[in-house]
Symmetry: D2
Subunit: 343 residues, 4 copies
């Protein structure tokens, strides 16, 4: 029997609808580099779902690639991007943003979230700094939805970011690598049209949300990023067979599927959270999405991971390990039950 | 009925064996980032096929990505890579190498090929240049097999490159985006073990050779490129679901399939070449692989492309267009016949 | 007695007026980073001399630094700069432009000069290229005045460049590392106001033209390059004691001195050219400025360079060496006579 | 009468010995790019003073340039440098290190200083991180001596850094932009030979320590940084008239002058500190070198700065300003007395 596996939301292949879409596409012939009919159709669905008819939509293979391509296109030399210290671009992309020449300006995050008022305070201090011409110029704010800690921004919080960005001439970028799990949360009020209204660019994750791989980058106002297509090419992020991504995103967005695909993950996570809380496990931070963080003694962690694969998150001290439990669109009730029994 | 399409070798989906492999993988659960069992199995097959048990093998999504990741890892600041002016890294990657900070040092190509003696002459001139410390330091040679013009290097030619590289401390890198079409040519004597013996790194193309997408990067001596895994990640080239690439390359290399998959393309190209030559079309340059270049008047090009999709190659003057006819593993006898009838 | 030295125009210290200016400044106290009164005064003189009251003027230490800072500020990712293959940014800056991420798009130069019609032909071909979105986007033209071969552009030639640049949305940048020697040529009609009228940025060389060191970058329309000051800082090109450059450029431009300082060099070069021609030396190319290129057999070159220091230029074949004779503002009649006697 | 000026240590020209050296050099002729006899002589003096006969010594114009050139030469792609958050490379170089593609890994500084044990704790955490291959690889430690806050490391502290660097394979780099003021402190035990023994590279500041401009980069083991000369050129940091820097550093190091030149600054600072403490000003942090930091109400700051120029340091809150008082080799007893009277 297969080992129980809650290590991450990218351990499984694709939702069957993706494979069907690829099999259907396989009979056809397509123009290259994302100019094909499937990609065009996927773009139309996304623009409709995001209520943003003028948006540019581009597909790339992975999330780090999407982040670095968008942010590098936004920033001039000597401009930087503000992010929570826990932000993916700071913590787990191996310095990808810096490799494009830009500094990630760190503010302390709380439960993975940045606070609009902290950004305002930072910008006020920057504005008062008589040496600011000798420092990196803040020009964009990076958020992720859900965050790396599984938490969510509310619409009101995003509006606050938009205001501070407008005040100080900053771009607002939202990394949606796990966006389907935000959209599937009952309490979430950041729907796709909210993102296209409030951000300058955002991504829609496919890899962790049902696709074999792929992320969509949405730029509500394409004039913002001239030459973006060629820049995607230049960074090695342009797939020759763009229809492979187009077919999957068409399948993900037809009939609003993307807004439903995360539901099983959220249901399973909710059950696990309830059970763990009853058993007295401290969950820090509490999260409404498909990621659950449990602090365990190293011994307990090692014993457990012989029977269920969990994600290593961090070792806050020499005696403890924080493990991540990630559910996904593919998590079954059996798996959820088995995990709860184990813990 | 579908329009006849010889525009390129990436217009079709994947060979059915790829979809089968992905469908089979879909039932499983995998560790991330290429550490999975399918990727490991694919690596073993490739190392065996290339007679290079110690090689590092990494999979990425596309060819530009592979080229820039390998070359940037090879070169220090102020070092550059020698390439034919027709080389893909010079002509059609939107400045990807320069974006990594390195100059492409251009030598005139002939029919897409570079000459080892031209590299030697260049290095001799460089060595005599008293100002050479003020110039880019040549450190690598870029070749493609087949070249962008569909021509092939022989084993003897590669050995000559190896000698000049050894003499001057240069790395030798071969871009094999269309390698299956070289391997399927009857006259080709550059088998995979030749590449692992003579080069410092080479790639094996999947995208144009039967896969949905993907390229393998082979580094015969992994000590050459320390930190390469993290550099792949940093460039956004590391797929979270690495098994999607692993599954395809396993299917491509099981039972030596990769060495056979290009055969239909070569057969079709041979027929087309014979027919076009009989009809009096000048083919420049003559090529043994799956790409054929025909110079047409603009009028003829426009008339033809209403009935068959061809690749635009270049407009050498205002009156003519060079069209590219590309066959692939998927080209059928019917398509080949229809094209011949049309022309 | 000191060896005769015509190796270059940067072998001598500064014109006495520079040392006087520095000695005078030494008693004062100045604000940092080029905000001082001397730099401001120098800027005013330069704006006046160039008939360009709105220009931004910045001072940096060296020519490579000026070139890379201006060009990197002009270009977005995936944009490149057109230059003659003999251009300094291509040949002798160790890949500085590429290190900023940009490709130098090479056109063949003739006697160091680029032809506006060659740029137009290149842009026409680019515009017709259906794959142009997959290639580097030409965005600037680099010229040097005088060129690296000592030749000069005429005003009419610069106007032709301006027209093709306007037609295709290109910036025009002129590297004036040796500009004083152009301005001192009787036949030159490219005065400073011509440069500020026709270019988007140009530099005024100090290092080779009488200063201890330093180049001025002139941007006629500063809106073109936002954040330029901070970008200078970021590239390590901002001198804390900016007044050291300000003092020298004030001395160079007070009373129009810069337009006269090159005269002795031009007079000496003229004498040498006449003498060498009489003696039958082939001068290739013929040049009106302070650089003279003579092809010698290797034996003759070696014999000569025991008695006079000459610049090594290149070794066109194994038997010959091209030597450069450079005069400067500091060249004396005695030195000129001694050189002529020697040769 | 001139306004009293304690704004920084780079407001004055050069020590007269520098101007004399330049005037003396002005009669000569020199080979270019730092190959001249003055630069060679300066190198010999520095190697002797640092007890490091095999060291490579290069001269560049400014401190940011030195920092970015050395660190970029040390680091491969995906490697980063550890620094205090107050470190110059993090705070006031406009993102220069990031522009070279490398992340500055921040640790909290105390009074401008980093703690070796904090670096060890960071490296231990990194070593335990199972995801470390997805993160920036720490490869160097950046210190400044004196720090940006005027504090000093002891020899014992540097030894502790060396140990942790050796343990984890890190380079140790010391930015000595104000090194003369450290060397002139009675309590300092980090002499030049200590730096060449314990670091992999360090700089010796000229700009703030008596020269018109210029920094020396010392690399005790030159094999560490291959191609360094060409990389200096490529970054625009190589002065054509290298003898201008050579002359100054020869003057600075002849007869051990550099170790004495900071003494007047330290004497003046000591007097000011004593007086301010007596008057009840809080000095944070207490510093032994030529920089003094005083927190003032905004009103007091504005009133004072009408009569004496002070450095703006930061505005910790809306009501207060931290001012920096910097003395230098040029500070006179009159100025010191006048400042004390004013405050």
């Amino acid at each position: 029997m297969e080992t129980l596996n809650f290590a991450s939301d990218y351990i499984r292949g694709a939702h069957p609808a993706m494979l069907d879409a690829l099999a259907a596409a396989n009979a056809g012939a397509f123009t290259g580099y994302g100019t094909d009919v499937l990609s065009e159709s996927a773009r139309r669905y996304i623009r409709e779902a995001a209520a943003c008819p003028g948006a540019a939509v581009h597909f790339v293979s992975g999330g780090t690639q999407a982040n670095l391509t968008v942010l590098a296109a936004m920033l001039r030399s000597c401009e930087g991007v503000i992010a929570a210290d826990t932000g993916h671009i700071n913590a787990h992309e191996a310095g990808a943003i810096e490799l494009t020449g830009h500094k990630v300006l760190l503010l302390p995050g709380k439960d993975g979230k940045l606070d609009a008022s902290a950004v305002r305070a930072f910008m006020e201090r920057f504005s008062r700094d008589e040496n600011r011409q000798h420092t990196v110029q803040p020009k964009a704010v990076y958020l992720s939805q859900p965050t790396e800690y599984g938490t969510l921004y509310t619409k009101a919080e995003l509006e606050a970011f938009r205001r501070v960005c407008d005040e100080y001439g900053l771009y607002l970028y939202v990394d949606g690598a796990r966006l389907a799990y935000a959209l599937a949360c009952p309490g979430n009020d950041v729907r796709l049209p909210v993102l296209s209204e409030l951000t300058d660019a955002f991504t829609i994750g496919g890899t962790k949300c049902g696709a074999l791989f792929g992320e969509a980058m949405v730029i509500p106002d394409p004039k913002l990023l001239p030459l973006f297509f060629t820049q995607i090419k230049q960074r090695g992020a342009l797939l020759a067979k763009g229809f492979v991504l187009g077919a999957q995103f068409e399948a993900l967005f037809k009939d609003g599927f993307y807004e439903r695909i995360g539901a099983p993950a959220i249901g399973a996570a909710e059950k696990i959270r309830r059970a763990l809380t009853e058993k007295g496990y401290p969950l820090t931070p509490p999260t409404p999405t498909n990621q659950i963080f449990v602090t365990l003694t190293n011994e307990r962690y090692e014993a457990l991971t012989k029977r269920v694969l969990l994600g290593f998150w961090e070792q806050p001290d020499e005696a403890h390990t924080v493990a991540r439990i990630a559910t996904s669109w593919a998590t079954t009730e059996e798996e959820t039950g088995a995990l709860i029994d184990l813990m």
